[in-house]
């Protein structure tokens, strides 16, 4: 009935206009995706929306663009599904995947980009054990993958497939309750707090309030975090090896009886107050390059995935440095304090004096080492590093003032025995420099002959060349991007290539028999 009425009324109408509803992307999403793509990350979209919506979103954030070949894997006509057996459907999908893979393999144009679009129903077949590897193999060669009409369970399954199939680190970001499975499955889960509630936030490792903050989270903080952790761990091993091995060496001189050359209190405080604060400041505040530079040079991010700073070479190098430091400290102290008098008044050194000197050498040497490692010095770092060395001397002073019941042999050792002895101070200076000299030579050599990217950028900033030579700075920023097929810069590039192609075709028709040099060549 209603249809009849509608039919009667809706006649001879004049079209006035059309309205459209745009499900707006959040502010800054296209730029963020662009930056992450330039940093070398691969981006997949898993959405519950229908295919047309998902494709439009892909276009608006430049995951898809004109000229990209879209590979759609779908279950054929839906009414046929009920009739055909499951096996036939699977075979169909398998064939589609195989054809698509062939097409990609045979593509000769290096700039050609493929986008894979698959919907939830198809995905439920594609994720089965016998097909999922085939599906994954196709998906990883595509520049972008959009999965639409995906259920929450499938989001988690796709994430698991990528995680286990490629072995790479995965990050999942979402804002709704339907993203919780995916967020928990990925290596890193990021939740966006917003209109859809807090479920994603509560399930995630990190939570941000807008999608665009992901760019800063990864490219700036991710990069810094990787560097900080790598340096911190290597340094921690170094200082404990430098300290612990001296105890072992001393055993050779005590008939292996287990006597330690240091007072118990020195050993207790070593890791608590005397060398821990500089490491903490290294781990919290260190920046090899500033945040603007990280954002301007997204390719620096790749230092993390390529694991340039925590490979075995570096770890063993630091351990070797610790071994060398311990040997230098021990041997120099033993040889200097051998058996002769160590003061003009004729006294010889006892175990307390030698232990205190050796320990002073260790504290000074490892703290100078961390000062050489740090590249970003604020007042905090200065306070912690030089403060640790000062704390040691203060401690020795105050500990020595305690009655002998507590301080035993260390009673008044700095004031009476070691402080006035020039040999004590000479030894500390010598040992500190001898321990740090190889490291200093190594980093000077490396900077000179084999500089890493962030060294060059540090130098550019140091000499303020970025201010002087804006052209150069902009050019380098443009070079500092990973070759990428998605994002709007890629879209601009593709446009340029298209125009260049048109230009060449046009100029080739203009060339006269007596060839005028074309501006293109």
């Amino acid at each position: 009935m209603l249809e009849l009425v509608a039919d009667m009324m809706e006649k001879d109408l004049i079209l006035i206009g059309a309205t459209a509803v745009e499900d707006k992307l959040q502010k800054g999403v296209p730029q963020c995706i662009d930056k992450l793509a330039q940093a070398g990350l691969k981006i997949w979209v898993l959405t519950g929306d229908k295919m047309e919506t998902a494709i439009n979103i892909g276009f608006s954030c430049s995951l898809l663009r004109q000229g990209m070949k879209q590979i759609c894997i779908t279950v054929m006509n839906s009414d046929a599904v009920a009739q055909e057996s499951k096996q036939a459907v699977k075979e169909n999908i398998s064939m589609q995947i195989t054809n698509a893979s062939q097409m990609v393999k045979l593509e000769k144009d290096p700039h050609a980009a493929f986008a894979l679009i698959i919907d939830g129903k198809t995905l439920s077949y594609a994720l089965e054990d016998d097909m999922k590897h085939q599906f994954l193999a196709l998906a990883v060669v595509c520049a972008s993958v959009i999965c639409c009409r995906v259920s929450p369970k499938q989001k988690a399954l796709v994430t698991r497939l990528v995680k286990e199939g490629t072995g790479k680190t995965t990050l999942a970001i979402g804002d709704g309750a339907n993203d919780v499975g995916m967020i928990q499955e990925a290596d890193i889960g990021v939740g966006i707090s917003g209109v859809e509630g807090m479920q994603a936030v509560m399930a995630s490792d990190f939570s941000i309030s807008q999608f665009r903050f992901l760019e800063r989270l990864l490219v700036v903080h991710g990069h810094w975090c990787y560097k900080r952790i790598a340096q911190m761990i290597c340094y921690f091993f170094y200082k404990n090896i430098a300290f612990g091995l001296t105890l072992f060496y001393f055993e050779a001189f005590t008939a292996f009886s287990g006597q330690s050359v240091y007072n118990d209190w020195y050993m207790l405080l070593f890791n608590v107050i005397l060398t821990s604060l500089p490491v903490i400041s290294l781990g919290v505040f260190e920046q090899d390059v500033s945040s603007e530079v990280c954002l301007q040079f997204p390719a620096l991010y790749q230092q993390g995935p390529k694991n340039l700073f925590f490979d075995w070479y570096r770890i063993l190098g630091w351990m070797g440095n610790g071994l060398y430091t311990s040997l230098v400290i021990f041997i120099l102290n033993i040889m200097i304090f051998y058996n002769q008098a160590f003061r003009a008044e004729g006294q010889t050194a006892d175990m307390a004096a030698m232990g205190a000197t050796m320990f002073s050498c260790i504290i000074t040497a490892v703290n100078c080492q961390i000062a050489l490692t740090m590249s970003h010095f604020t007042w905090i770092q200065h306070l912690f590093v030089w403060g640790s060395v000062t704390t040691w001397y203060l401690f020795l002073l105050l500990f020595g003032m305690l009655p002998p019941y507590y301080s035993e042999d260390a009673h008044k050792i700095l004031v009476e025995a070691l402080g006035p002895a020039p040999i004590y101070w000479c030894t500390i200076l010598l040992v500190t420099v001898a321990c740090n000299l190889p490291y200093l030579a190594h980093i000077s050599f490396q900077r000179c002959f084999n500089p890493m990217d962030h060294h060059i950028i540090q130098e550019i900033k140091y000499y303020k060349k970025d201010v002087e030579d804006q052209h150069m700075w902009r050019r380098e920023r443009s070079k500092a991007r990973q070759e990428t097929k998605i994002g709007f810069t890629a879209r601009v590039d593709a446009k340029i290539r298209q125009l260049k192609g048109k230009l060449q075709r046009r100029s080739s028709t203009l060339i006269l028999p007596n060839c005028m040099p074309s501006p293109c060549q």
């Binding site: 008939a255 058996n339 160590f342 232990g355 019941y405 000077s444 130098e459 000499y463 991007r481």
Partner: protein, 349 residues
């Protein structure tokens, strides 16, 4: 939204809008970012060389100024007949007097320090080091605080040993008397221990009691009428040495000794180092600002200074021969993309 969601959102909003927290979280502390430019590298190494080489020379001169005479005597001082069974000899009641002579190689200015040196004696053994009672040494009331001192803690049935423990028990007891040309030289045995030992660690009303009364005699006996804070030999001995070869201060000779003088030493060879093949040596030494004679510090400084100098020269040569433009962006190993196309695009349209 649920109540918890509201709370979380409000908290986030609160932090985002509070200017104090924002300024703290986003604060860019003024930072200095030093980098190793060629100038810094070469000047650092050169500075180290310039500082270390003179210090090394000064230390070496200080060490070379010291005149030292060392005389090993533990085998010499056993009569030839008894040299096959030294342990039995040293434990017997035979006469242990021994005469040795030392020739002064160079003029020695007073005060000349007399040391006894023991080799292969592990004063730094853990069980030995802990075998003492600081409480007992300090105050007479804590006389019975001997738990750490076993086995030298209690004399058989006569009460606690003061001072207890293996360190005190093994007190060195060789004595030396010096003479030149039949004129004896006095050895000042005062002022050889640390002042803090005399004042704080050894009590002035603690007297030795039942010392060496544990059954086995390990070394010297102590005069029971002298309080512990005046027993300087004991105080010096109780400062356990760090290495198995060590010297301890015996006394000071306060006259000058001329070159080529022959000093005759009458020593009592009481101490038993023969059970463990230890060596005994008598040392006469002057001191300089750096202490006794040890060239190692000076040589080490010179070595490090020379290495540093060589490094600075090496780096200078390298920077001249193969210079790298600093901040040269062409060295960036990142992926390259050409913008020539864009430039052309701009030029053409």
């Amino acid at each position: 939204m649920e109540a918890t969601d509201r709370v979380i959102l409000a908290f986030q909003k609160g932090i985002q809008s509070d200017p104090n927290i924002q300024s703290l979280l986003n604060k860019n502390f003024p930072a200095c970012k030093p980098i190793l430019t060629p100038r810094w590298v070469v000047s650092t190494f050169m500075l180290i060389a310039i500082v270390f080489i003179p210090i090394g020379i000064a230390c070496l001169i200080g060490s070379r100024d010291v005149v030292e005479v060392v005389e090993r005597y533990e085998t010499e001082c056993i009569p030839v007949l008894n040299r096959t069974n030294t342990v039995q000899f040293i434990q017997s009641d035979a006469d242990k007097t021994c005469n040795i002579s030392m020739t002064i190689p160079k003029r020695m200015k007073q005060p000349i320090y007399v040391y006894y040196q023991l080799d292969n004696f592990y004063q730094n053994h853990r069980r030995y080091v802990k075998s003492r009672s600081d409480e007992q040494l300090k105050s007479a009331s804590k006389e019975n605080d001997t738990s750490a001192c076993k086995p030298e803690d209690i004399a058989n049935g006569r009460g606690a040993i003061v001072p207890c423990g293996l360190i005190a028990w093994s007190l060195f007891n060789d004595t030396y008397s010096f003479s030149r040309q039949n004129q004896s030289l006095t050895v000042n045995k005062k002022g050889i221990a640390w002042k803090s030992d005399k004042q704080k660690r050894f009590g002035k009303n603690v007297f030795p009691k039942n010392f060496q009364g544990g059954g086995l005699v390990g070394g010297a006996t102590l005069n029971e009428s002298i309080p512990l804070n005046e027993q300087e030999d004991l105080m010096v001995w109780m400062r356990t040495a760090a290495l198995p070869t060590f010297r301890k201060l015996y006394g000071k000779i306060e006259v000058d000794l001329e070159e080529k003088e022959v000093i005759n030493v009458t020593l009592m060879n009481y101490y038993n180092t023969y059970s463990f093949n230890g060596k005994k040596k008598l040392v006469l030494s002057t001191t300089s600002w750096i202490g006794g004679r040890n060239d190692f510090l000076g040589i080490a400084y010179l070595t490090v200074g020379m290495i540093s100098f060589a490094l600075s020269m090496g780096f200078t040569i390298v920077y001249f021969v193969k210079p790298r433009r600093l901040g040269d962006p062409y060295l960036l190993i990142m992926e390259q993309r050409s913008w020539i196309a864009l430039k052309m695009f701009v030029e053409f349209f």
